[in-house]
Symmetry: C2
Subunit: 453 residues, 2 copies
């Protein structure tokens, strides 16, 4: 047999698919308590499968929630170690009537694998495991490999942070490898190199101590909704810049290399506008939409309420107004610092005729993977071999909390080797994964072991 | 007997009070359908009482709602005619447990009459009727007198406008006299000389066609809440002036005489702030609180909503944002013109990356009584005789829709001879009316007939 990943994969397609289908058949829905036994079953299945797949050791760790599967293959304590993260839980499947085939009866149809979890994250974790198996068969695995699969990713990874803290030694590695993200398109291999962070506040503005008759008081007493609107309006200037002093202090400017890479991402602005039914895009002056939504901070009001919200008219000058404010943050901005900056700014600029209370609700650090990281370079080379194209390093505008948890708790960077496509319908009916990308993904992972030295 | 109103009233106190109590005992609550028979009873009672009180003719007119009582005493078709407006319906009495005496069992206690309707408007309509009776006894009634009492004031005067339209001839008069407003204080006789008008809009701002993930879109797509806040914030400038072009075009400036009169109104700013629990008052630069809340237009957001309003945080860039906006208008501003101006302005300044829909919901004209009107001057002189003080002409910041309806449909100005005090607890438990003001009110009305030539 020819010693290439492609050949090995071709020779094992049926086995590989069967192995994936075994996992897709278990309805491991973490958010529905009736599936609790399926979570256990899934974890045990993984343990056994990983032991059969070249791991020397595999164990199921109970947590206060769903169990965590850990496995390892230590070939040389002095060699480099990668820690592969994935999750075995899936999203609910409702509405069932929209599925063309049963969500937990996987099948191949029109060149795609159809099932809940086909992509997120059973398909992608199998790409990692099968890539490892392939590399192992080819004698390419020169590093230690650790695996951690959790069962609560879709419900907030509730017990993962504690587990990491309690098993720091066991989880020690040089880098974390994650396949739970996407590619920008079928022919555009992609490594997600950045994630935005988040700061989130609830603001309460109080005017008079009770709702007033707008006739008897209107014009003479400050209206908390009017004032809240003014405060919110003042946070972003005409150029789309956030006006809070110090807000941009720690933002690392986009490099020319990054901007060039972003410029290569296929983007059809007309189609984008059409999809959202908007007449124009809007954001910070001097940046492209794909930069604004991933590499630059944002300031969005996620919710607002106050006064009369019913039918018709009620003429009041309300006592209270509320808003949920959020900022997506970028690499190097500390969410706690920003949270404090914005809260203090709002409190400072609030006029004396209202009271303001700013409550930070939630936060998360941004993430940025250095493009000169060994593992990143190995991943880049691996994608290029499998896809025939250098992958783009793109930043995602969203947040994956576990990635910043890993950085904070374990001190480790992650390389996000995602293979999902925007059309894979994750979290939706008819989740699927294109077969050709599945094979190429396995090949990429196998090549990674050959490139990671 | 001495021929003064005071003496006549003193001689008839018991009868007058008994006559009032007869009315206060009827639970004519217009908003509660179980009181429908009481509305009929109340109207018939008034008809009979007015016939006994010097009216030549009194009639109950059915409407699609509660009946309207009309009465008249025509002494000379060439003489001047006044039309007295009042209402015989009252507000509900809940919560009953807070009343110190039963709401429909009137009693005199600590120098006050206690009952639902003691002020609003049975007490005040009786001041008119008893004042007329007194003047009649003194031979002072030189004008024709018409009376219209409706039974739906507390539920929006639903059928009054149609009635006015259908009975224009019958209701012809020189002026309307209304006792349904207040005095600024016990020792400060007051005539309400102005009412603010109203324009009211609902605004809907649409961004993307569905709620978006604030991570994937935040910063790149306009947020309808942020944009709505900007629009609202832009409507009032730093000096508290409304920025809509043309908004102030028709506003009649306050005269020195009016400002001097307003300066005489007792006003304790510290107490005002304490009552509302605010640190500072706020409004248009260059105007006093009592001018801002009555003689100048206002712009208040009565309600706002959009996006996520639940507990905790949800990171969305919402599709929609809504607000209820209102402006109190002042004399000479046409509510339909302003309604159009503001709607067009908002539509014009809305940026291209959002859609805006402005729906006018509601409106009413402001009212201003010329201080040189014969009837106003007569009322002023009458108050001065009874109270020993020239009454202040004050404008109220609220609206009384029927007053502008009368002006529009019948072409008549109204003189608002109110005698209520802020402590009378109208619409609340323990509604009351001070006896001394009741007698002085009757005296004032009697004097009015002597002064109105």
């Amino acid at each position: 047999m020819e010693k290439t990943p492609k050949a090995y994969i071709a020779a094992n397609k049926d086995i590989f698919l069967n192995d994936l289908f075994d996992k897709l058949r278990i309805p491991s829905i973490s958010s529905q308590s009736e599936h609790k036994p399926d979570m256990e079953r899934m974890a045990l299945h993984w343990r056994d499968y990983l032991l059969q797949s070249g791991m020397q050791k595999a164990e199921v760790f109970p947590t206060a929630g769903n169990p965590i599967v850990y496995a390892e293959r230590i070939i040389d304590p002095k060699a480099k170690t990668i820690l592969i993260y994935g999750h075995y839980d899936v999203m609910p499947v409702e509405p069932l009537e929209l599925w063309k085939s049963a969500p937990f009866e996987p099948e191949v149809r029109e060149g795609h694998i159809w099932a809940r979890g086909a992509d997120d994250d059973k398909g992608q974790t199998m790409i990692q495991v099968l890539g490892f198996k392939t590399a192992l068969a080819l004698g390419w695995v020169k590093c230690n490999v650790k695996i951690i699969f959790e069962g609560e990713e879709e419900i907030g990874s509730t017990h993962l942070e504690q587990f990491c803290k309690e098993h720091k030694e066991m989880l020690q590695a040089d880098v974390i490898i994650v396949s739970d993200t996407g590619m920008v398109g079928h022919d555009t291999p992609t490594i997600t190199a950045g994630l935005r962070g988040l700061a989130y506040w609830e603001v309460e503005v109080t005017g008079p101590n009770h709702d007033l008759h707008s006739g008897h008081y209107g014009g003479a007493v400050a209206n908390p909704i009017n004032e809240l609107c003014k405060l919110i309006a003042s946070i972003v200037d005409d150029k789309g810049r956030i006006t809070v002093p110090g807000f941009y202090d720690d933002v690392v400017p986009l490099t020319k290399e990054e901007r060039d890479m972003i410029a290569q991402i296929p983007f059809d602005e007309e189609e984008y506008k059409k999809q959202l039914n908007i007449q124009a895009v809007h954001g910070e002056e001097g940046y492209h939409t794909l930069e604004r939504n991933s590499c630059r901070p944002s300031f969005d009001v996620c919710g607002i309420w106050g006064g009369y919200m019913g039918e018709g008219s009620k003429t009041i000058l309300p006592s209270k107004a509320y808003a949920k404010l959020s900022s997506r943050l970028v690499a190097n901005q500390d969410h706690e610092k920003i949270s404090k900056l914005v809260a203090e700014h709002l409190t400072r600029i609030a006029p004396p005729y209202i009271k303001i209370k700013v409550t930070p609700l939630h936060g998360g650090q941004a993430y940025l993977c250095p493009l000169d990281l060994d593992a990143y370079r190995a991943a880049e080379a691996a994608y290029e071999k499998a896809f025939g194209k250098r992958p783009l390093a793109v930043r995602s505008g969203g947040s994956i909390p576990i990635i910043s948890t890993f950085e904070r708790v374990l001190g480790l960077k992650s390389v996000l080797m995602g293979f999902g496509l925007p059309t894979n319908a994750i979290h939706s009916p008819n989740e699927n994964f294109p077969l050709d990308i599945f094979w190429k993904g396995i090949e990429t992972v196998a090549e990674f072991y050959n490139c990671y030295k």
